[in-house]
Symmetry: C2
Subunit: 207 residues, 2 copies
DNA sequence: GTCGAGGTAGACAGACCTGTCTACCTGAGG
DNA sequence: CCTCAGGTAGACAGGTCTGTCTACCTCGAC
């Protein structure tokens, strides 16, 4: 092992790699994964083919990197929307649905990148697994919030809210009507209210 | 117009056509639309290539026929589940979620065929339009039920239940855990109950 | 100044995909 | 008997896709 510690086999980060990933991010989301060939990504990112295959030995590796990027972005937006709703966990569970409204309103919105990717992949593949992992992570986060909010059955509440969120993500891409996110938020409020018992101020339960 | 009335240009129904559609139904759903070539469908249905292209001049025509078939099947299951819940419209709105549970439990379940198809198609195409039309039809039906049930805002209730349904359809394909359909049904009960006012028997409102 | 990592440019192989076309078969109605 | 709709079998054209490979460039570290 004479390799110095700062020379990984393939650089994990570089300008070329970033450009590839950025082009893939836009193209995969807008047109679907199978519909976008590597040649198009190469042309769009202004990179040589050899460079592409040095960073991503197979197209699937790029797809996984794309999903990881989406995960980072979407998780961030969800957390930001929740925090913007204030310190109350129950309110955060409702407020996170503002991220859905913002996403649906965005030009070129085409649904949940993960669900779309899963629709194009087979169970057991790396791509499919990323989707499952992402959804599980989001639900775990909501479950924690539900517990802090003093929900009767935090896992069940989180599951229900996840259904609402996924449903909004999916149907927001179909009819452009903005009342889907709104309905999702209203429903979330009802669902949260039904297990958290709004009167009673359970927030400071533990102290 | 010398054409006798019983000789359409291309027969709308025939054994060969049915076999093609049946093979397409299974393959498109299991593997995705783009992932299945016409050659595979031809081989699987035991039909000649010329016959295939006589019935479906382009692959997209077959895709549309596939979606129409899915629409018939799924709509039927939804209505059957609703009717099995009894004559009460509010109960039917909850009971239709049993169709979701049944679907998710089925071997090889891979989510909503329409959402999956939309993920692989562009807005404005015939395939995408079918998806939008299907979702609108389901929601219109639920909206009618909600009105009969005396919901305060039937359209809004139908929208919320549609979110739950689509969310269940989407996530049922990801984690195989059977509690997604259950959570959807429980949430539906709460949502229906919150606008229909369970005590008060609003069912016979209009007579 | 030399060496090597990272990049560019593009030809190429081999697979697969849609859609067309020719040639032949079969069976029922007139 | 003969015709013709509907079907079979499969070659073929033209395009696209992934992934490999050769040849050359550039710039910073040693």
């Amino acid at each position: 092992m004479p390799r110095p510690p700062s020379t990984p086999e393939v650089q994990r980060t570089s300008a070329a790699r970033d450009r590839i990933l950025e082009a893939a991010f836009a193209l995969f989301y807008a047109r679907g994964i199978r519909a976008v060939g590597v040649d198009l990504i190469i042309a769009e990112s202004g990179v040589a083919k050899a460079t592409f295959y040095k960073h991503f030995p197979a197209k699937d590796d790029l797809v996984v990197a794309y999903l990881d990027k989406v995960d980072g972005v979407w998780t961030g937006q969800l957390r930001a929307a929740a925090e913007a709703a204030g310190p109350d966990p129950a309110g955060q569970l409702v407020g996170l649905f503002d991220a859905l409204g913002t996403a649906c309103r965005r030009e070129g919105y085409r649904g949940c990148a993960f669900i779309n990717a899963a629709a194009e992949s087979q169970p057991g593949t790396a791509v499919h697994d990323r989707t499952v992992a992402h959804k599980a992570a989001v639900m775990a986060w909501m479950s924690g919030l539900a517990e802090q909010a003093g929900a009767h059955d935090p896992g069940s509440l989180a599951r229900s809210l996840a259904l609402l969120l996924d449903g909004g993500l999916a149907s927001g891409a179909l009819d452009a009507s903005p009342d889907a996110p709104e309905a999702a938020k209203d429903s979330a409020r009802i669902l949260v209210g039904s297990t958290v018992r709004p009167r009673g101020r359970r927030t400071a339960l533990r102290s």
